[in-house]
Symmetry: C2
Subunit: 236 residues, 2 copies
């Protein structure tokens, strides 16, 4: 479902890493983009793309994930002409290296890249052309945000990214994060500006909170990050 | 997100029973309806309702669930004026007993009741006024359907319900089921008419499939059904 006329939209969930994958397509031309696809759910995702009659042109990662392996590399092997995309500042290989203001077109629609570093240096937020939807990766989660204690994480940077690049979007803009652990599927800019327990704080308080989360190391970081630096497939 | 103008819509997930709860509200009047809320997630749901400034008027169950306990009874204790609703044919107590064609209004919007028995005798599908969204409970799942081997289950009845009451909706009508076990969040009537592996079959083949699923008894059936017959709260 999508507010935008002629936009096909699907939110998909991978339960082991609690990752959301998003599929967007032009209902006329059938050109499609997938955001943050996960290795474990590649068959489900490609089956749906086939059933919907879509032509997948770009598979984009919002950042180099530490908690799961991306399926973009394997998807490239299985979908002719598919291009992978990720931030230039991710350090990862990809067909397209994205920077601020870049557009990812699909039919009459497009996603615009906003650089939102802080969780990692190469984190991006993707915004639809009418600013009705923002795919925030791990920069902004529903009533939360990505951690900042590994992979170039920096709480100050994240605070600035969210306040300058995401909270400046319209209040009614829908927030679609890369993860949710409580069964929530969507939020809005207005809600997060008002109720996000971390990002409604001052920068000093935010940094204090983020530096004292004492989270365990992600279980899959040692295999995920090296794999995701090469689109999830070694020797590809 | 909702196609319908002035409709606030949220899909929420309860991971233990893989149940979807739906919250719909009029963005002007703030009157809201919740569909299939789960006992374990009542605090999350009521917090969100409060943050969104909504006035919850009706909590409706699509049927008497066997896999989880509804939170409608406890919600009634915590939300003044809230009314519970369920099919007349569910055998369950509630403030409102629904039958075919009944409307559940919330502000300028409404849900219309379609009786879709087969999983249980008291299964209903709720359809928005513009037929853009259908909440199908366990009658129709994404590429699947509810089982028919307990609680008055009847494969023939379910086949007729889906074909006559759901597949007759517009192809683009979004299907929001009560459950999904594969991370899928939504489908459409057109897709299910084309790709549902069970309901695209003849009735005879469908009955054969449904009678040979050999599924284990739901873990919580012995506590869920008696509790759900009284809105999830005994002695309420």
């Amino acid at each position: 479902m999508a507010k935008t006329e002629g936009l096909l939209f699907r939110q998909l969930f991978e339960s082991e890493s609690s990752t959301y994958t998003y599929l967007l397509a032009d209902t006329n031309t059938k050109e499609a983009v997938i955001i943050d696809p996960v290795l474990e759910t590649i068959d489900r995702d490609l089956k749906l793309i086939k059933e919907l009659g879509l032509s997948l042109t770009v598979a984009v990662n919002t950042h180099c994930h530490a908690d799961h392996i991306t399926s973009t590399g394997l998807m490239k092997q299985r979908v002719a002409g598919l291009k992978s995309a990720i931030s230039k500042f991710s350090g990862a290989t990809a067909d397209i290296h994205l920077t601020e203001g870049d557009m990812i077109p699909f039919g009459r629609h497009s996603l615009t890249v906003k650089e939102t570093p802080g969780h990692t240096d190469g984190c991006i937020t993707l915004v639809t052309e009418d600013q009705s939807m923002a795919f925030t990766g791990d920069a902004l989660l529903i009533r939360g945000c990505g951690r900042t204690d590994f992979q170039q994480g920096c709480a100050e940077k994240l605070y600035h990214s969210v306040h300058e690049k995401i909270f400046t979007l319209p209040d009614e803009c829908l927030i679609y994060p890369a993860h949710d652990y409580l069964g929530q599927t969507v939020s809005t800019v207005g809600e997060e500006r008002k109720y996000n327990p971390r990002l409604t704080k001052s920068m000093e308080e935010f940094v204090e909170i983020m530096n004292n989360l004492n989270l365990p190391k992600p279980k899959k970081i040692d295999i995920s990050v090296p794999a995701n630096l090469v689109c999830g497939v070694h020797n590809f």
